[in-house]
């Protein structure tokens, strides 16, 4: 998932490229780089419906939708039900509550990469401060 963005100054000044601009800013400002490095590892995702999924990450997109393969679904509320085995599953990011990160991941280098990207993106996509309201006459 690589985005090619033309560094044209005219395009940056124009407001017509706002949607593309926001999309790139969304990628930089979220903790996405932590999870793109997690591809191929096995994690546990807890959904909002009290269901836990243990599987191998195959893909993570910009909205943190996660594709897992060889997944096992465990229902934690009703413990009588059996675990389900799914070959391939897509988890929409809205339904995720927690993701348990495995121990072998070197998180310090990922967070350093995240803070580096964050400081770089601040120069490009700095949020405009709100101007104070005009004085009442």
């Amino acid at each position: 998932m690589s985005i090619t963005y033309k560094k044209d100054e005219k395009d940056l000044k124009n407001n017509t490229n706002n949607s593309k601009k926001k999309f790139i800013a969304k990628e930089f400002q979220s903790l996405l780089c932590v999870f793109t490095a997690l591809r191929g590892t096995q994690i546990t995702i807890q959904l909002r419906s009290n269901c836990e999924i243990y599987g191998t990450i195959t893909n993570v997109d910009a909205y943190l939708n996660i594709e897992l393969s060889d997944a096992k679904l465990t229902n934690t509320r009703y413990k009588n039900k059996r675990d389900e085995h799914v070959q391939e599953i897509l988890i929409q990011s809205r339904n995720i509550r927690f993701i348990q990160i495995p121990d072998k991941i070197d998180l310090n280098s990922l967070l350093y990469l995240y803070s580096k990207q964050l400081s770089q993106s601040k120069k490009k996509y700095e949020r405009t401060l709100r101007k104070p309201p005009p004085p009442t006459k």
Binding site: S30, L31, V34, R48, I96, F98, I99, Q100, D103, L129
Partner: protein
């Protein structure tokens, strides 16, 4: 005009930066509470916490006496990514000494 330094507090979200690498208390929806060390966060309040103690408050009804039993289920998770849309509040833990 736009002089932004890393130490200044301009938006409410900048207050969370003061809690980086410290233990915080997170109140979540669905009667959950988390206590853990904050490693990273973003503007959606997605967070990465470590050494997390999760407390879930469960209210059960006793079938015989019809009383409500309030139980706290505790769980320990070593490294956790918390998705931000379930977060109600973030607080440094209360110091009782």
């Amino acid at each position: 005009m736009d002089k932004r330094e890393e130490g200044t507090v301009e938006e409410p979200l900048d207050l969370i930066r003061l809690s980086l690498d410290e233990r915080i208390f997170v109140k979540m929806r669905q009667d959950r509470e988390l206590r853990g060390k904050l490693h990273a966060y973003d503007q959606h309040l997605n967070m990465i916490l470590s050494d997390v103690e999760e407390t879930i408050k469960v209210v059960e009804k006793d079938e015989e006496t019809d009383e409500e039993i309030i139980r706290n289920i505790k769980r320990n998770i070593k490294m956790l990514f918390v998705r931000g849309d379930g977060v109600i509040l973030i607080s440094p833990p209360l110091r009782t000494s």
